[in-house]
């Protein structure tokens, strides 16, 4: 699914990623850990093809995405949940999801966008709020809506940047369930998070980034306590 070799990214003179290698297979759930500024979000943005690397090679689904460019077919198979919800505050949740369902409907899935949007909203527990203005949603509800946006087209590669942020316990459980459901049908998941308990229970592999380098890449993932000890030893920091 993902084959990244010696990915490098700089912003001006600041080198954020240094020769990162990463392979992720079909149906694998990989957690990416690391201190603030380690390059985790930048790595996800490169994998989502939103941002372009300065050097290295990236192949997704066997297609060259860097130094080449991702095809529309590759983009249609990616789901991305970042720090921003990537939604329009002046549209309702239903209008937002319907809009994105239309954008992603080119892959032969001719499902009605309205039906897809309504089903996605019900799945994330926002069925009661589908016609409210998005700007009136709470932070947690907005995160649920963003999860629906990122997953409603059944992506084969799901990239999640701190996805449990702002979610209550039921929202976190819902997201965990969604990640497991997608992985079970073959979706690869790369997840940046600081929640070690969730990492232990969800991920099959953990990658630790520090100062833009992969300093640890191992599976299976140990229990949260052991993982925290290993993390502290590798980075010198608390999670």
């Amino acid at each position: 699914m993902i084959e990244a070799r010696a990915l490098r990214k700089a912003f001006g003179v600041s080198l954020v990623l240094r020769d990162v290698d990463l392979d992720v297979g079909r149906g694998e759930i990989v957690a990416v850990l690391g201190p603030n500024g380690a390059g985790k979000s930048t790595l996800l943005r490169l994998l989502a093809c939103i941002s372009r690397a300065n050097a290295g090679r990236l192949s997704l689904f066997g297609a060259d995405c860097h130094p080449g460019r991702p095809t529309l077919d590759v983009l249609a198979r990616i789901g991305f949940l970042g720090h921003e919800p990537l939604l329009y505050e002046d549209l309702s949740p239903r209008q937002n999801l319907e809009f994105f369902a239309r954008l992603y409907s080119r892959r032969g899935r001719r499902d009605d966008a309205d039906v897809v949007a309504r089903a996605s909203l019900e799945r994330v527990g926002l069925g009661h709020a589908m016609e409210r203005p998005t700007r009136a949603l709470s932070r947690g509800m907005l995160q649920r809506l963003a999860i629906a946006r990122a997953t409603q087209h059944q992506p084969e590669l799901l990239l999640l940047d701190e996805p449990f942020t702002a979610l209550d316990e039921s929202g976190s459980d819902l997201l965990s369930g969604e990640i497991r459901r997608l992985a079970a049908i073959g979706t690869s998941v790369v997840m940046v998070t600081h929640d070690l308990a969730r990492v232990s229970s969800l991920a099959g592999r953990v990658v630790i980034l520090a100062a833009g380098r992969v300093v640890h890449d191992a599976s299976p993932v140990p229990a949260a306590g052991e993982l925290a000890l290993g993390y502290r030893r590798l980075t010198g920091l608390e999670v």
């Binding site: 943005r45 989502a48 093809c49 939103i50 941002s51 372009r52 529309l72 077919d73 983009l75 249609a76 990616i78 991305f80 970042g82 921003e84 919800p85 990537l86 939604l87 329009y88 505050e89 002046d90 549209l91 209008q95 809009f99 994105f100 239309r102 954008l103 992603y104 080119r106 892959r107 203005p133 946006r149």
Partner: protein
């Protein structure tokens, strides 16, 4: 592309932000001219044409800026860049949305200016709608491109007019001359050179925007 147009129109219908601010500013500008100058003396076709296009441009700048602020607010532009659509289509979708808004503004503005500043001696021909169409296409094509570039900077409100106005100068000259001619009854044949210039300008800038938008969206 049409999905993006529909989305922009849905947002505008829901909020009315761009249309209301644009119309209010246009109305204020026209009223200031009407009260401070002597309309009977100044309301020749050249003055009316120049005032119409200047007002439309200044008011349109607000709308163009707002159209990309909406995209930047919650990362909408990133959402579009992630989607499996040709990035040139994103540009065309945004440009068509802006074109429709500017066209409505132009259709309201021209008669308003004529009524407020006087219509004596005017005999508008059927070329006038064509001039309006070509001029508005040009403003939307260049404006959308410049607004997208400006939206990636912190000084976007300042940068947009600085980028856009010099590029639009030839178009404004052509549109003003053609409008002035159309207001006094000149035919399409007589205004052919201006009309061709406007059409050429539109094609060049719409194509440039379509081809370069991939690089503008890139991080």
């Amino acid at each position: 592309m049409w999905t993006i147009v529909r989305k922009d129109l849905a947002i505008e219908l829901r909020t009315g932000e761009m249309a209301s601010s644009m119309f209010l500013l246009a109305l204020l500008m026209v009223l200031i001219f009407a009260f401070t100058l002597e309309p009977e003396r100044l309301a020749g076709p050249e003055f009316l044409a120049g005032l119409s296009w200047t007002t439309l441009l200044v008011a349109g700048t607000l709308a163009l800026n707002r159209s990309f602020v909406l995209e930047r607010e919650a990362g909408g532009l990133t959402g579009l860049a992630l989607a499996p659509i040709d990035r040139g289509s994103i540009y065309l979708g945004k440009a068509i949305g802006n074109f429709l808004l500017l066209l409505v503004a132009g259709v309201v503005l021209l008669p308003l200016i004529a009524i407020l500043l006087g219509t004596r001696g005017l005999a508008p021909t059927m070329v006038l709608p064509l001039v309006l169409l070509l001029g508005v296409v040009g403003i939307a094509a260049i404006g959308t491109l410049c607004a997208a570039i400006a939206s990636r900077t912190r000084a976007r409100e300042v940068l947009l007019p600085i980028l856009m106005f010099p590029l639009l100068a030839p178009l404004l000259i052509g549109a003003t001359r053609a409008t002035a001619g159309a207001l006094v009854g000149e035919s399409a044949g007589e205004l052919q050179s201006w009309l061709l210039m406007l059409a050429g300008f539109d094609i060049v800038f719409a194509t440039s925007g379509w081809l370069s938008f991939d690089y503008i969206l890139e991080e």
